[in-house]
């Protein structure tokens, strides 16, 4: 704890999320193998999810359940925003769907052309 000093946990999550986004982007842009690109996309997706979570987090906050400990009046300042968490759930599902579709494309592309290299799929251009 001392090393991070007063770094807040949300900032760490945010930074690592953004880092993942960049790594993911790097993966998509540099890896020519479709599977690796999909992995890059997954990283990107995960990074975004982390960013989302970190946005809603209130340091030291508690779960957003209104009860006696967290009365209505002070809830806004004390609880973690529940909406991002909810959004992340949806986003994860969608990301999963997209990843699945991508993978199925990769499989079909491999079946059709016996390769997984994206730079060999350039017949439509100009």
């Amino acid at each position: 704890m001392s090393f991070f000093g007063d770094l807040q946990i949300s900032m760490i999550v945010l930074c690592s999320g953004l880092g993942l986004v960049l790594i993911g982007l790097w993966g998509i842009l540099t890896q020519r193998n479709l599977i690796r690109m999909i992995i890059g996309f997954s990283l990107l997706d995960t990074g975004i999810h982390m960013v989302m979570v970190s946005i809603g987090y209130v340091t030291g906050g508690t779960a957003p359940i209104i009860n006696d400990d967290v009365p209505m009046a002070t809830a806004v300042s004390r609880v973690v925003d529940p909406v991002p968490s909810a959004l992340v759930l949806t986003a994860i599902v969608i990301g999963l769907g997209v990843t699945a579709v991508m993978l199925s494309f990769a499989v079909r592309i491999f079946r059709a052309r016996r390769t997984l290299m994206i730079d060999e799929c350039t017949e439509s251009k100009w």
């Binding site: 982007l25 690109m37 960013v51 946005i55 579709v101 079909r108 350039t122």
Partner: protein
């Protein structure tokens, strides 16, 4: 209960989702039982979605409040809400309708994949959601739903290229979605709400670095989804490879959804309006430029799609920037509907034709119905009347002008011109019959969706017209008449011709007889003359599919042109005239290619005119033609623009290169109409502009003086070029160009006498050029030749045609006593009066040069040696001769009593340019000279008759032997073949040696180099589309960076 469910739930906008999801759930179940029942359900669902959207939109149009839908019964921000207002309703209805038509089109494929039915429904529902939702995150979800459905649909094709393109598409859209998600979450961070309205309400919170980043992500994401140049290669690849049904839906449906998303988030992005406009404009211009280089039909449609979305984006940004959101339905809506129907139709058609290269579309040649559909869709896309795109572009351009955004006008018009270039080049390729083509196998019923799209285009076009104009019935009259004639197109040719004449005569009379002044005079020329010359169409008895309806449209649109009170009405009729005359030219034997040149120059002319009208509207705030003069300081510019447009249309020097091909290749009888009648519309326009603007003293003389020079140089060079022509119709074409040059100069004089001269010349040109082209039609009909040196000696076979030609030529040359002299005399007097001495000298020269080609025409065709194979030719058909001799009668009357003509001309001009012709009895006096036509006629008749009588008398003492054509002194040899005895080829070779350097085809070379340049530019601009998905992804990322930098990201 059921009733309640239907009215409370199903018929509400939310019912769309209910229906879609319900059907989506049931379709696989039904499919287990029976494939057909699943398909039936699928269509029922789609139809239901259309119906729901329609019913609700109707309610809103009838004044109901926009419907707010709150899910779970809780108001936002605590729950997602949807809205169904006017815009949403329009978009949803349009998308659902097109989805229904698309499903119809796609039915054969859908039958094979039951899951496709489900995906299709989901996709359409997703688009609906994108339009209706007011929640940012919900928007993301709908985008993703649509995307995943799209991916899956693309993935149904198992070919490698489709899959590759699909993968690129997924990568690109996924990255864009990621940006969207990031933007959304940052916005939520700032505003604490996901509701768009909520965010807009707290707009001030979205600021600072985070606000900037958030909106930037959102903007980039939406722009990327709209496929901006150059980050759009992935979209193009999908358009190129995916089946037409999917491509159509991506192009019009998904893009529409994204566009609507941009529309509703625009209040958040108001800092970026300029960026959005630039992106849209650049995409529009550059995709259309690159399209020039493309010959794959589907990819071409892709470029066009992207361009259209760019235009929409530009229109949206500009409208918002100018604060005229009230015009948004007309501009964006019009463009959108236009794009939606036309592009979907084209994608489907491309699917049916199933030819990759645009050149192979020649399978359509000779199939009028298919070509008509194709033509309608292309015309709509280009923005020709009466389709919605026309009205939208009109409003857009006028509003841009009103807002002072002149560069955008240039972009819009230039881009449209480029788009027209490649689209109509495609059409041209489709028109050309090739030997190798196998007939296409399109079944008639599969064209139904395309036809419906075309019909809807007409309907929506009319709808927009009603919004903009009151006098729509008259404006649409030519089209109605044309449609009626088209429905009768199966009748025999002669009957159709008669019908067309009756319709045009009746309609034209009704439209023009109550006109006054100038318009009345032009009414006689354009409508009366058009009908008179069209009589000659009876000389061909073949079916001529499409010819008569189009001619009817053309002639009636000329009539409506004269009736126009507002610049919109004028422009509408003008474009209708352009379109119909273009199509008529394509009907000629080799007409397709020159027709393209004709169309492009005509469109360029039209865009100049449009720009001129728009500027005038901006300056005067009125669309009335009569208000053109109230344009204040921009008068000179308005005048120059309009004059430039009309001069292009008259074939002014430098922009004349469309003239020879068009006049040469159009059907022979139609060329007469084109030259004698249609070209006068430009003269009318020019006079109109001159009357409203040119004569103002505050405009200064300069533009008019320049116009005068242009006219006279056109006359000179037209004549010079005609001298060196071997092709009889091209000779007359250049002659027309030259003669119109005189008229332009006459107008430019801006004096009473000058205008009388111009009008007189106009009437005269109509008379003699009508005769000449009809005579030539007869000659070409009989000889099947157009090269003059292959004819000769035809006076023996066609004496009446010869006499008609000779009289027409005397009337053209200006030799007294026929009408031509009057024109030359008036023009010369007017120029001397004005002090334009150099022009007068040039006029002398050019009228002398005109003698060369006139004599050449008469000599090489009718005189000299007749070819052996022409010995048995007959005289031209009587129906061709009748109009000629009617015109000769008119020439004779006007020659003897020019007062009959000059009085009305003079009084028509007096309202603008005061002044009167001074008559002393039958003698006309000007400041300089005098002209007594009847007396000249008498003297000439006298001095001609006396030697004739003398010669006849002497002939009594002579044994005159009528001899054969080879009985000539031939340096004591005998001639061997008519071909080498007839001096005809390269008739003015020595003139070529002396002055030929003046007529080297410089203009052609110039325009050719423009074409080459633009192709080269296009080739270098499309290097970004290297086909690599990673490159595309990189562009997307870089797009973000560039937007970041351009919008001042570094200064944060």
């Amino acid at each position: 209960m059921v009733e309640g469910f239907i009215t409370q739930v199903l018929l509400q906008p939310l019912g769309i989702y209910v229906v879609a999801l319900g059907a989506g759930f049931l379709v696989p179940l039904f499919d287990r039982a029976h494939r057909s029942s699943a398909i039936l359900l699928f269509f029922l669902a789609l139809a239901g979605m259309v119906a729901i959207a329609g019913i609700n939109l109707l309610a809103i149009l009838n004044g109901a409040a926009p419907i707010q839908i709150e899910t779970a019964g809780i108001a936002p921000p605590f729950a997602i809400n949807l809205r169904f207002g006017l815009y949403e309703g329009g978009f949803v209805l349009a998308v659902n309708s097109i989805a229904l038509l698309g499903a119809l089109h796609w039915l054969p494929s859908l039958r094979q994949h039951a899951s496709a039915l489900l995906l299709y429904l989901i996709m359409v529902m997703g688009i609906n959601g994108m339009v209706m939702t007011r929640d940012l995150f919900n928007l993301f979800i709908f985008i993703e739903i649509t995307s995943i459905a799209t991916y899956a649909l693309i993935g149904m094709e198992r070919t490698g290229s489709v899959l590759a393109a699909g993968f690129k598409y997924i990568i690109a859209t996924s990255v864009a979605s990621a940006f969207f998600l990031l933007g959304t979450i940052f916005l939520y961070y700032l505003t604490g709400t996901l509701n768009i309205d909520g965010m807009v309400a707290q707009r001030e919170l979205i600021s600072g670095p985070i606000g900037f980043i958030a909106t930037l992500f959102l903007l980039t994401s939406l722009l990327i989804e709209l496929k901006p140049y150059p980050a759009n290669g992935w979209g193009l690849d999908v358009y190129e490879t995916a089946p037409g049904g999917i491509a159509a839906l991506i192009s019009v449906g998904v893009s529409a959804g994204v566009f609507f998303a941009l529309l509703k988030t625009l209040p958040l992005l108001d800092n970026y309006l300029s960026s959005i406009a630039v992106v849209g404009g650049a995409t529009f211009l550059l995709s259309n430029l690159i399209g020039l280089k493309q010959d794959n039909a589907r990819r071409l449609l892709g470029y066009s799609s992207i361009g259209q979305m760019g235009l929409l984006t530009l229109a949206l940004a500009a409208t918002v920037q100018l604060g005229i959101e009230a015009q948004l339905p007309l501009v964006a809506g019009g463009l959108f509907i236009n794009h939606l129907l036309a592009k979907a139709g084209l994608f489907w058609l491309a699917d049916l034709v199933n030819r990759n290269s645009t050149r192979d579309w020649s399978v359509l040649a000779g199939r009028p119905g298919r070509l008509l559909l194709f033509g309608i869709l292309l015309s709509a896309l280009v923005g020709l009347p009466p389709f919605p795109g026309f009205w939208a572009k009109w409003v857009l351009v006028t509003e841009l002008a009103a807002g002072g955004l002149y560069p955008w006008i240039t972009v819009v018009l230039l881009g449209s011109l480029l788009e027209a270039a490649y689209l109509f080049r495609w059409f041209t390729q489709a028109l050309q019959t090739r030997e190798s083509d196998t007939p296409d196998t399109i079944r008639l019923e599969s064209l139904l969706p395309v036809a419906l799209a075309a019909l809807l285009l007409f309907a929506t076009g009319y709808g927009m017209a009603v919004q903009l104009e009151s006098d729509t019935l008259i404006m649409f009259l030519p089209l109605l008449a044309g449609t009626a004639l088209w429905l009768l197109d199966g009748l025999p040719g002669l009957l159709k011709s008669l019908l067309m004449l009756v319709v045009v005569a009746a309609g034209g009379a009704w439209l023009t007889l109550d006109l006054e002044g100038l318009n009345r005079i032009f009414g006689f020329i354009l409508v009366g003359g058009g009908v008179l010359l069209s009589l000659a169409t009876q000389y061909r008895s073949d079916v001529r599919k499409g010819f008569y309806p189009l001619l009817g449209i053309l002639l009636l649109s000329l009539a409506t042109l004269l009736r126009a009170h507002t610049s919109l009405e004028f422009f509408f009729s003008w474009e209708l005239m352009t379109l119909s005359s273009y199509l008529l030219v394509t009907l000629g034997r080799g007409g397709a290619k020159p027709a393209l040149t004709y169309l492009l120059f005509s469109l360029a002319a039209a865009y100049f005119i449009l720009a001129g009208f728009a500027l005038a509207y901006a300056a005067s705030g009125s669309l009335e033609l009569a208000a053109l003069g109230d344009t204040g300081s921009s008068m000179g510019l308005v005048f120059s623009l309009l004059a430039a447009g009309f001069v292009i249309k008259t074939g002014g020097l430098g922009v004349h290169i469309w003239v020879p091909g068009t006049y040469g290749e159009a059907d022979d009888d139609f060329t007469a109409v084109l030259s004698a009648v249609v070209s006068k519309a430009a003269i009318f326009g020019l006079l109109l502009v001159a009357a409203q603007l040119g004569i103002r003293s505050d405009i200064g003389l300069d533009p008019a003086y320049v116009l005068g020079w242009i006219g006279m140089l056109t006359a000179t060079f037209g004549a010079l070029m005609a001298v060196f022509q071997e092709d009889i119709k091209k000779l007359l074409a250049y002659s027309s160009m030259g003669q119109l040059g005189y008229i332009v100069t006459g107008i430019a004089l801006m004096s009473h006498l000058g205008w009388v001269a111009a009008l007189y010349l106009t009437v005269n040109h109509f008379l003699f050029k009508g005769i000449l082209f009809l005579a030539v039609a007869g000659v070409v009909l009989r000889t099947s030749e157009r090269l003059m040196y292959k004819m000769g000696g035809l006076i023996k076979n066609m004496p009446f045609t010869f006499v008609a030609t000779m009289i027409a030529i005397i009337a053209m040359s200006g030799v007294p006593p026929l009408t031509g002299f009057g024109g030359k005399w008036l023009l010369f007097n007017a120029m001397m009066e004005k002090g334009w001495y150099w022009l007068a000298a040039l006029a002398f020269f050019s009228s002398a040069v005109a003698f060369l080609y006139m004599y050449r025409l008469l000599h090489t065709v009718f005189l000299g040696q007749r070819k052996l194979e022409h010995a048995q030719l007959r005289e031209a058909p009587a129906i061709l001769l009748v109009p000629q001799f009617l015109l000769i009668g008119i020439i004779m009357v006007f020659s003897a009593y020019p007062k009959l003509l000059l009085e009305p001309l003079s009084s028509a001009i007096s309202p603008w340019l005061a002044g009167n012709l001074v008559w002393d009895g039958l003698s006309l006096h000007t400041h300089l000279g005098y002209w007594n036509a009847p007396m000249i006629m008498g003297v000439v008749a006298g001095v001609w008759m006396i030697p004739l009588l003398f010669l006849l008398l002497m002939s009594l003492t002579l044994k005159i032997q009528k001899v054969g054509q080879f009985n000539i002194v031939f340096a004591a040899e005998r001639p061997h073949r008519p071909e080498d005895t007839h001096f005809a080829y390269n008739f003015f070779a020595h003139y070529d040696r002396a002055l030929g350097f003046l007529v080297k085809p410089r203009a052609t070379a110039f325009w050719n180099s423009i074409v080459e340049w633009s192709h080269t530019l296009a080739a270098s601009l499309r290097i970004f589309y290297n086909g690599n998905g990673q490159t595309y992804a990189l562009f997307i990322v870089m797009y973000l960076v560039v937007l970041f930098l351009v919008n001042g990201g570094l200064q944060l």
